[in-house]
Subunit: 228 residues, 2 copies
Amino acid sequence: MNKRVFKKHEERKDEIMEAAKELFANKGYEKTSVNDVLKRVGIAKGTFYHYFRSKEELLESMVGKMTDLITGHVRKSIDQPGMNALDKLSRLFTVSGGAKVANKKYLNIIGKAIYSESNLLLRQKLVTRSIRIFTPILTDIIRQGVEERVFDTEYPEEAAELIMLMARDINESVAPYIFAKELGKKEEEIIERKYRLWSDAIERMIGAPKGSIESTMMKLWEEYRDAR
Amino acid sequence: MNKRVFKKHEERKDEIMEAAKELFANKGYEKTSVNDVLKRVGIAKGTFYHYFRSKEELLESMVGKMTDLITGHVRKSIDQPGMNALDKLSRLFTVSGGAKVANKKYLNIIGKAIYSESNLLLRQKLVTRSIRIFTPILTDIIRQGVEERVFDTEYPEEAAELIMLMARDINESVAPYIFAKELGKKEEEIIERKYRLWSDAIERMIGAPKGSIESTMMKLWEEYRDAR
DNA sequence: CTATATTGGACCGACGGTCGGTCTAGACCT
DNA sequence: AGGTCTAGACCGACCGTCGGTCCAATATAG
């Protein structure tokens, strides 16, 4: 039928993942069939299964690539000697949150996709992996903070895990309002109240100075709001 | 082929849901086919789709039934005039947690099922629904507590939501240890530390007296641990 | 030219769901 | 009481789609 087009291994693989990302974002993982992906890329079944053992492995690879990208940015911006714990914490939130804002045009699509009902698996894999990667980083930051006497907690490890889980919570809680069609004064107030309460809870949990986290979070939120 | 057996509408429907519950618990929702359910109940395809519009509607009904049961218990044990906010809060945790301990023999199966990878959808639907139901109840309790000057927060509504979400977190965080084959001293310590930190975080969030929630949680945990 | 990596698409069983039709309990007649 | 009628419980062949397998055909490297 069609002329065959040969590509280098990694190139093809990336091409498939890229196509899948867009399809998953638009239709959701479960509702996107392997055939949809084939059609989009312009390849046959055999080709797909030459690169991925299953549909789920494709998802896994995609998620891995996405999280690796974010992690890289975060690590780079934090691994600087002489940086204090509070700054690092601020950077952690800013960069991991900012990775979204970076490709702003995709944010809405991806956001809607991730927080839509039809993408449970994708969201779960993304979140689980992020938490697994970020928890040890956050643990180190908290430990450093305790040494610097700016944080005060007995269990940095557990606190870090709980904070990461709560980060997911606040995102999920705020997502419906952020991705709503209209973002009016009323919605903004709700969002701000939630961020404030959440920041406060975390400050208390690790014994951070009052307002230290809140100020970062509010700045991030305002930045995002104005970019809309 | 088979003799026809006639049943009353609700009876048959319950029968199907009961069979599905066990199958979902053992194999997971996605891996249980409609045909599996049919075989178990001893009915034909058409009969199933006479009662449920889809496989997912079956899941929805099941989840609805389960949550309604728990909600009933909670409501009954809390809706008593003259009960103070702290007692109500304690009851809320005890009863909603105790609903599991009640049918102890199912707990392990259901627990493993809910917290297994293969039951994302079931877990999500169960959790989402529980949160939606319990949040307003918890909001009222917090409001009452603020009036009684035993709690101190400006945003009872948001605090309630965050607490419910955090309840899910602590459950998920602790589940792998609780449902582990062996529950040694080391695991117990981890679990206790998590519960303690979590209780503490919530106490601080709603300005509850130190230790007020922790004591309830620890009692619940010990009760469960000894029942194993 | 040979060996290997890559590609194409026919093919498969299992899945969720549809459909036209059968059978019977119980309400309603006479 | 016995006869008739009908709502709705019940059946299973059938459908399109899915993820996944298989192997022949082809391009490229050496």
